[in-house]
Subunit: 386 residues, 2 copies
């Protein structure tokens, strides 16, 4: 992961000339006057406390204080985060990065830090875009970034179709391990390539196929949480109608209420493949009406995605105006879905537009880096309707 941007530098993209021209000529966008700082240019203060107590818990090799380690654990990957780090602003950097190897070590770290009045920020894939990794230092003697990468356990129950996964397990690794036994989580947010299981839970993550499989929190059967007061185990049965559901406090808590160290999730049978097709609707409201029909009455395919006229014109295939919808299916196209789309005024565009989407499905953050280089600000916002 690039410390000042997204992903694997080898996969960086450059802007298509058409888009570059549009930015410069139509919108007057100019490259930033100051280029991104280099790692060496960033000056970090020495850690504000002596982490020797942490070394006693996890072993000295897992307590890291190098500038690069600390910078790589500074905030997340929102556009604002990137603008700050590109400018060399690292006032949010942790004093120390600690990499525990077990739930019990996390408990011990929280205990030690609580007694020292040191803030702890759980760190999974580092892909947060909502400030979940930005610490509040007020009243604290320092900040520890708690990197959960070593909590990567994997245990599967193929009969009940559940898996108990370490919080630090990366999503692509989890999918690979599950695929070997014919299963999938079906959870593919744009951050998929770097995100972790614990991060999915702590951020109440939503993915590209959530219309079919549910948001990540809907997959969660049980959580193990380390807190400064001890362990909280939540979720004792596949379904429970008894009392308030306290899992729902930790899901979406962004690490503020405790450290999720282990997550038990429901699995889905992995399809043989996903098939993608494109559909054209005359107007955005036409497309919304069609997708609402499927969402309300079914059948619900793996994904339903509608672009407005502007996005369609900018990024889509030649659709002769109108709006592009991309539909993903498990295994292959479902005639009953196609019948609804056709009946609602959709025109099939074949596989190509869907395959184009699938190829670029994790490319958004790479494109954003290129846009920032060109001086253009881009951000993702999400909404929901019935």
């Amino acid at each position: 992961m690039r410390w000042s941007g997204w992903g694997d530098p080898a996969h960086a993209v450059s802007l298509p000339p058409r888009l570059r021209a549009l930015l410069e000529n139509a919108l007057g966008v100019r490259p930033p006057e100051r280029p991104t700082v280099t790692l060496d240019e960033i000056g970090l203060p020495a850690p504000g406390f002596d982490p020797v107590g942490l070394g006693a818990i996890v072993g000295e090799g897992y307590v890291r204080t190098s500038a690069e380690d600390r910078i790589r654990h500074t905030r997340g990957k929102s556009t604002v985060d990137l603008l700050r780090i590109r400018a060399g602003a690292v006032h949010d950097a942790p004093d120390v990065v600690v990499v525990p190897g077990s739930h019990d070590e996390v408990l011990a770290i929280l205990d030690w830090c609580t007694r020292q009045r040191i803030a702890v920020v759980p760190f999974g894939g580092g892909t947060s875009v909502v400030g979940g990794l930005a610490p509040d230092r007020t009243g604290f003697a320092g900040v520890v970034a708690l990197d959960l990468a070593r909590l990567d356990t994997f245990e599967i129950d193929p009969v009940s179709r559940t898996a108990t996964l370490g919080a630090g397990l990366r999503a692509p690794v989890a999918e690979e391990l599950l695929a070997a036994q014919g299963f999938t989580l079906g959870h593919f947010p744009q951050s998929f390539e770097y995100a972790t299981i614990g991060g999915f839970a702590a951020t109440r993550s939503s993915g590209q196929y959530s219309v079919r499989y549910g948001r990540f929190d809907e997959l969660v059967v049980a959580l193990r949480v380390a807190t400064a007061r001890g362990t909280v185990d939540l979720g004792r049965a596949p379904r429970s109608g008894a009392g308030p559901d306290l899992r729902q406090l930790f899901l979406g808590s962004e690490g503020t209420l405790g450290v999720i160290t282990e997550v038990t999730v429901r699995l889905h049978r992995a399809p043989t493949r996903y098939a993608y097709t494109g559909w054209r609707f005359g107007t955005f409201p036409d497309g919304v009406a069609a997708l609402r029909r499927l969402a309300q009455d079914g059948p619900v395919p793996a994904m339903l995605r509608l672009s407005d006229e502007y996005e369609t014109a900018l990024t889509g295939p030649t659709t002769d105006g109108g709006c592009l919808a991309v539909v993903a299916y498990e295994d292959g196209p479902v005639p009953a879905v196609e019948a609804v789309l056709r009946d609602a005024g959709g025109t099939p565009l074949g596989e190509r537009p869907g395959q184009d989407w699938a190829r670029g499905r994790f490319q958004g953050p790479y494109l954003r880096d290129a846009l920032l280089d060109a001086g253009a600000f881009a951000e993702t916002v999400e909404t929901a309707t019935f």
Copy 2:
């Protein structure tokens, strides 16, 4: 509702002679020595406080202190509750029953009671079986039963397929109003005939068709809650991945954290009818395996219900041993479901066993009254598996 038992006295059932003989001869069950007390025999102390402040809020006609009103708001309908009330034990009776007409009146009542240190127990249909209506008087100057029957508003959004319902609206009334516009909640617990919308939410209710429509809490889009500190409005969007989900604290809270006064729920298109069929499986594990296949891979019908060998022999049709499964479908049988059941070793038994189940689906509590009269103790327990 009978004060000492369940439902409409006109619908009371008597035990089939075969069952009565089984109880007496095989199990040695004898009728209780002391018959159920009459309403007149029950001695209630005078209310422990002057409810004049409550009359100022709701109007004197909606503050009730008669013995019958108080006895009818004493605890719920668990078997233990019934044994107590049949014995005339009413130490849990509220001092006063108050029937507010609006959310604001509920707020004012909570404010008044808090200042007087009086406990408030929200009361919907009075069908609780988990002690949610049994007050803890310790440290309180008295107990108010807050009967929500007048909070019966109904507002529907047919495009988004949601309805905002008053907490006191009874389930059959809600279904009737929804059916007039082609919708259903699809929520049919055994308490359906008396339960209320607010009670469904406060108890995290599970129904006979929950495998298809979800538990009631899964239908809830938004909640309005009155607390002693003011109003809490939760659920601002159809879907939200932002932060902890505080609705899940009030769902299942049994009235302890606040008074749910209004619930916005997702609706389903009402089927033209429900069709029921029976299937025979050789053993309970065979039946479990078949139902698990449908639950995990679909398609999921409206209901999947499996009786063990003992229940099948006692109450089911002649199945020549084995276990009876009852399947309910929306509109009509689904061939893909039948194919799975057949492939998993099931033998179709036609419509009769399913229709028998449907006829008796709300009869359990009536049968329990007859069993208690005969001296037999019966209770419902629920479990869940993957």
